[in-house]
Every structure is written in C-alpha cells, then in structure tokens.
C-alpha cells in the first residue's frame, strides 16, 4: 500500500493504481532530445556530438554561442539533417498514438493506423501522382503528397460512410469495411505498380517509406496536424479507459460513445494521413509501439497515449538513422528497418512479461 498525501486529505491507495510518475516522462523527454541530437550528428559527414549540440542550441531563442564551426557544417546539420530527424520523430509519434487510439477504440490488439483504409488510399493517391505527367506545388504540398493525403481521407471517409448504421458506427462493421476497401484499393495499386514501367522503383520505394526528401517546409505542414491531433487524443485518455469495458457500460458511465468514436477516428486518421502523405506507408510502428509501451508501463490510456508519442518518436528517429547510415551511401527503405529492428525487440518484451496487456 502506498500513501498519497494532498493537504489535509490523506488517502491510502491500493498499490499499482498510481499513474506514471512525472520523472518517467521527464527521463523519456530528455532521451528524445538526446536521440534527436545524436541522430543529427551522425551521417556521411560526421559531426562531433558537442558541435551538433552547440549548433542546435545556438538556434534557440536567447541562446548565443560563438560559432567554432563552418557554414557548411551548419547547413548540413540545420537545413538537411535536422528537418529529416524531426520529420521521423513526428511521424513515429503520430503513427504510434494513432495505433494506440485505434486499438483502444476498437478494443482490438491487432488494430493499426492503417486498418480503415488510410494506407491503401494514400498509396493509390501517390501512385496516381507518380503516373501523372504533371507536377505542381500547392502551398508546400507537392503533387504526390497532396494526392496521397486526399486519397487517404477519401478512403477512410468511404469506409466510415459504408459502415455507419443510422447514427451508430458499429466497430466490427467499420473494421470489416476497412479491410474490404483496403483489399480493393490494394489490388488497383498492385496493377498500377506493375504496369508503371520505369517509375516502378520510385513507387515501390515510396510505398515502403522514406524520409530522404523531408525538409523544413514538410515539417512545417505535418507539425500542426500532429501537435493538434496528439493534444485532442490525449484529452480523451480517461474516456478510452472507460470504453475498454464495453460500449453499453461506457454510455451508462457518461461517455457519449458515438461522438467519442468520431472525434478520435478523425484525429487519428488526420495525423496518420498527414504523415504517410509525405513519407510513405511505413508499417509496424503503429501496431507495435503501443504494445511495447503497454508491456513496460501498463495499459492505462492516460499514460499509454503520451508515452506512445515519445517512444514512437525515439523508435522512428533511430530506425531512420540506421536506414540512412548502415549501407551508406545507399538508403534502405525505412519500412524494412522498422520490422527488422522492431520485431525481435518486441518479441523479447513479450517473452519477458507474461502479464495480460490487453
């Protein structure tokens, strides 16, 4: 038994019910920053950790460090590597929290951010973008990301409309409609890919995901989506816990279940769509990171959601680091690395801990 004291009220709480302590978050946030600086300093031109740290610190407001480095190094660190690393962190965070949200909402451990058509919709949009003989740039959105984003939203909206029965949205119907539409779109994508001729390699590379093209303008577009989505989703952690009972009990405990579904589906789908539109349909992160967080820190959504954001960011930054350095100067598609590195680690966690997590 642990005792929690707050002013006059002293409550003896059963052990194991306290939420994560603040220092768990503090340590992980520091870890995210360290990984960020580390990943920024490693690359084809190796920059010492301390120099990278100074360059980045110099960019912060109210910090002024006399440069001991060349302008070239600063360009590499700040204009080339940092946006790429940030983008990896953002996408990892987005996919992880979207996965945790879908899993909680559907009460299904196999759910991932692509379950209701985002990935296949984005893929079809992107492939069409590759095959069209035009290119343009609309407010920072290139043709391919724009079509991928629109495709992802069109696909999920279709699934949503197909699955809705009156005012209600039965979860099983939603999943089945998602699987069916994804299969349909996937077959169209496959056909387009094999008949795409010389752009085939570029398309396949896009489908497996890459951060190679990420720059500041893309970070600027994705960041607001991810930030807003993360804030909205984490506000509903307690209600997602109540949803784990079943929809009937959740309603009797004051949760407006249908409204909650729409808010969370919209938020999770938007951040997923914004992410995959720029970097391709990176697999594995969205399903595995939330489970890894559950294995280590438990299943309370109030800690699961923010911790998935942080761990997802760390994981994606590190896998992108491996993807661009291990066979340098060749890059490996990130989707390959996420599974190769992530699966064994996840299986290790799974074996180590036998407690029910879902």
């Amino acid at each position: 038994m642990s005792i929690k004291q707050l002013g006059e009220a002293s409550v003896e709480l059963p052990k194991g019910i306290l939420r994560q302590r603040w220092y768990v978050y503090a340590i992980i946030v520091v870890l995210v920053l360290l990984v960020l600086v580390l990943a920024t300093s490693i690359g084809s031109v190796s920059v010492p950790f301390s120099t990278t740290f100074s360059i980045l610190a110099d960019k912060l407001p109210f910090v002024d460090i006399t440069p001991t480095w060349s302008v070239n190094i600063e360009t590499i660190i700040f204009d080339i590597r940092l946006p790429r690393v940030l983008m990896a962190g953002l996408v990892g965070a987005a996919l992880a929290i979207a996965g945790a949200t879908y899993q909680g909402l559907f009460r299904n451990p196999l759910a991932d951010p692509y379950l209701i058509g985002v990935a296949q919709g984005a893929s079809l949009g992107a492939v069409i973008g590759f095959l069209l003989p035009v290119s343009w740039n609309l407010a920072g959105f290139g043709l391919i990301p724009l079509l991928a984003f629109v495709g992802a939203l069109l696909a999920t909206t279709t699934v949503y409309l197909l699955a809705r029965v009156g005012k209600a949205l039965p979860v099983t119907t939603l999943i089945l409609a998602g699987v069916a539409l994804s299969a349909l779109l996937s077959s169209i994508v496959s056909y387009l890919v094999i008949s795409s001729g010389e752009s085939m390699k570029a398309i396949i590379f896009w489908l497996m995901g890459s951060f190679a093209l990420s720059d500041w303008s893309e970070v600027g577009i994705v960041l607001p989506y991810v930030a807003a989505g993360v804030v909205v989703i984490t506000l509903f952690g307690r209600m997602l816990n109540v949803m784990q009972l079943d929809e009937e009990q959740a309603q009797q405990l004051g949760v407006n279940v249908e409204r909650l579904k729409i808010i969370l589906l919209a938020a999770a789908t938007l951040i997923t769509a914004a992410s995959v539109a720029f970097v391709g349909t990176i697999g594995f992160v969205g399903i595995i990171i939330p489970h890894a967080v559950r294995l280590v820190w438990g299943s309370d959504h109030r800690s699961l959601l923010p911790l998935s954001v942080l761990i997802g960011a760390i994981f994606m930054i590190l896998t992108d680091l491996i993807a661009r350095t291990i066979l340098s100067p060749t890059e490996i598609p990130i989707g390959v690395i996420t599974a190769i590195c992530g699966a064994p680690f996840f299986l290790y966690l799974l074996r180590r801990r036998k407690k029910a997590i879902f």
Binding site: K4, L6, A9, S10, V11, E12, L13, P14, K15, G16, I17, R19, R107, L235, F236, R238, M239, N241, V242, Q244, L245, D246, E248, Q249, Q251, Q252, L253, G254, V255, N256, R294, G298, S299, D300, R302, A356, I357, F358
Partner: protein, 261 residues
Amino acid sequence: MIELEMQKVSLGYNHHPILRDMNLKVSPGELVGLIGPNGCGKSTLIKAFSHIINPMSGRILVDGRVISVIPRRELARLVGVVPQIPLLPSTFSAFEIVLMGRNPHLGLFQSEGPRDWNLALQAMQKTATQSLADRRVNELSGGEIQCLLIARALVQETKAILLDEPTANLDIGRQVEILDLMKDLCRTQNLTVLAALHDLNLAAQYCDRLVLIHDGRIHAEGKPSEVITNKNIKQVYGAENCVYTHPVNGLPIVLVGAARK
C-alpha cells in the same frame, strides 16, 4: 431526488416489440422490483431507462424530462446502472473499475483526486470489496464482480440506481447485505431504486412495490402481497399453489414443489 417514469412506452429490437404500452412510475425513496420469467423484457426495460435503447413509441421521463434530450454525462450523474455480469478487461484492477464511476463527474481536463479515491474506497467498504482493490478483475469471481459493479454505481453518486439481477451470483449472506444496503439508501438518501430480480422471495422481502411482467405487458403491480398470489404465479410461471405466508413478517413466500403432496 428524481422520479423515473414510462408513459405508454413500447420497447423492442429491430421493429419487433418486446414490451408494449408500458405505464410505470418509480418514486424517490422507493425500491421497486421487476419480476417476470426469462426473456420477458426486464433487462430491456433497464436499458431503456439508461438510454441504451430508444423506445419505439411513448415517452420515458427522468426527473420529468424526456430521456433522449438529457446529455449522456448528465444522465450518468442522475441514473446509475449495475449491469448483469459483463466481461471486464483483464488490464484493470478492481479499484480502477470502481473509480470509473467518477467519470461523469470529471471534465475533459480533470483527473481523479483524493475525494474521488475516498469515495471509491468507501463504496468498496460498503460492498465488502475493499480487500480486492489491487486484484486484476479477470481473477475475480462472478459474485465479487457483481459487488464491484454495485460499488461503482455508488461512486457515481446518482439519484437513481437500476440493478439488473444484482443478486444472481451472490451467496445468501451477500444477497442480504446488498439488498439491505439498497433499502438503506432508499430510506436515508431518498434514492430511487429499480431492480430486476429473479428470486421472488427476495423481491417480496425487500421491495416496496413489485411489477410483474408477462407477455409484453405489466401483468400485476402493487405491494408484494398483492402481486405474489397463487393466481398470478400460476398464470405467469405455471406453478400451482406455491405461495405461502412468511410466519414472522406476513409477507408472501414462494415454495415450489411443496404443493405436490
């Protein structure tokens, strides 16, 4: 304190009515028992009073307001429900399940504080479940879960409580404890209680009023001695001459099989 009321309500699923033209009123401080054979619609009625299903026709009123215009969160502060034993997710502790009863009292930006924890611990004491607090709910027995769900409804601090077979999995000692608790809440806090009960004897002993449902209608309604009669029991359950009078308190008791010899 609130009143629950049905005016000419028909209830059912997929346009197939189970209950027709129900007129029913439960007043504050009253413990009303719903009795009737399996599948007669007791649970459906409880779902209607917690707005899980909408009536096919008629009006359901909670505190004089049509139930469908009351927001979920507000309704959950007025009416608490103890469902029939559901499957509970194995990841939560008993204490966490009870604490979920505070959900309708907490805003989006709030989380539970000492007052909520105290309420939960008190409710667990009242239902004799405090020793289970840190156990995972998948390790608990049906009866223990039933008591937890009652604790959760108490933590909800509602003005009415609906119970669906609250004593079905309890031993005789626990049955008496739980119904004593409900009766006490009715008397001291003017709580409105509507309980679907299978056990006719418990229903007769504890309820102020009984509603006997049969063939989609209210077959009989009134004091236990007016509802549990040889005639009604024969018509509804097909058992003959099995109603006796309790030797001490004079309430009806049902002894099946005793009339054979």
